[in-house]
Symmetry: C2
Subunit: 184 residues, 2 copies
């Protein structure tokens, strides 16, 4: 066991729970339909407690988005480092990271945030900036039209997985996609 001594307050853990449940509820009701009360309840804290950690609703949403973006970027970097081929390195990492998302738990969080980005200019801008920065950083290896198309296709697959509730993308599709990222 972790400890015989039971701490009564664990702010870091509470913070994590708030972020997790907040993200989950975003999926179910959308960011606009997200209620602080609901987040607090499901996280086992009162609204006052929630507002102690995140002084406004916007602060909570921003925190959720930041965490996801950071984790995604980390995974992309990791995949890029492990890829021996230069050409299309970022695109392959992007595709794989995106498709990986579909299997894991985080997908629900991402879906909510990306969808909300359409209606929330602040989030939209943040995502656009991130992608722009990545593309600029990797423009020598990842600016070919075929690669752009491949990235779009990955996004499309991801979107389809969210809309059609079942059936993860076939391996053949994934291979075809990655095939686009190699110099012919």
């Amino acid at each position: 066991m972790a400890s015989a001594y039971e701490r009564k307050k664990e702010p870091a853990l509470v913070r994590r729970r708030l972020l997790e449940h907040g993200a989950r509820l975003c999926v179910e009701h959308g960011v606009a339909g997200l209620s602080l009360q609901a987040v607090a309840d499901t996280a086992g804290v009162t609204k006052g407690g929630l507002l102690h950690h995140f002084p406004t609703k916007q602060a909570l949403v921003d925190a959720i988005f930041d965490e996801l973006l950071q984790s995604f970027e980390g995974r992309v970097r990791q995949l890029m480092d492990a890829d021996p081929e230069r050409f299309g390195r970022f695109t392959r990492a992007y595709i794989n990271a995106t498709l990986e998302l579909l299997g894991g738990e985080e997908v629900v969080q991402w879906s909510a945030l990306m969808m909300s980005s359409v209606t929330e200019p602040r989030l939209k801008q943040r995502w656009a900036d991130w992608l722009d920065g990545q593309l600029k950083q990797n423009k020598q290896t990842d600016s070919a039209p075929a690669l752009e198309l491949a990235r779009h296709a990955a996004d499309g697959i991801w979107l389809a997985a969210l809309l059609g509730q079942g059936a993860p993308p076939s391996k053949a599709l994934r291979q075809a996609l990655l095939g686009l990222t190699r110099k012919s």
Copy 2:
């Protein structure tokens, strides 16, 4: 002029205005954040008037979705009829109809509804059913893996256009996409 007699009530026109402004507001605040009051105000009707045409918020949202889906299906059919080549006919029409959307006014309506579909199971199901039906209907001509990939790419381009606010897709990208839909 149409008539010297001025009609004082034009329910059909009011209904249209409600749908249009409703769709627009969906984009700005999301379906969950859509307020009947706001729709009524921008459409120049009271909330009571709005609720006369659409007895619940759900009815309003459903009506918006239905109209869009119907118009999209009509455009797809039109494009299919004009396409002399059998193989990939539906996919090409789907791609072209989707990319056409990006230039027009309807794109804002679509974005809101599709995004909301992620969080609203009812809309999600409706879209899934529509696409499923179309694919089943055209399975002889449009079930090749390359076509599936092409459709996903079109969706991804559409999504990117929504998230990154500017820069419509290049013609080269569009051509590359359509190239995928021809038998090699």
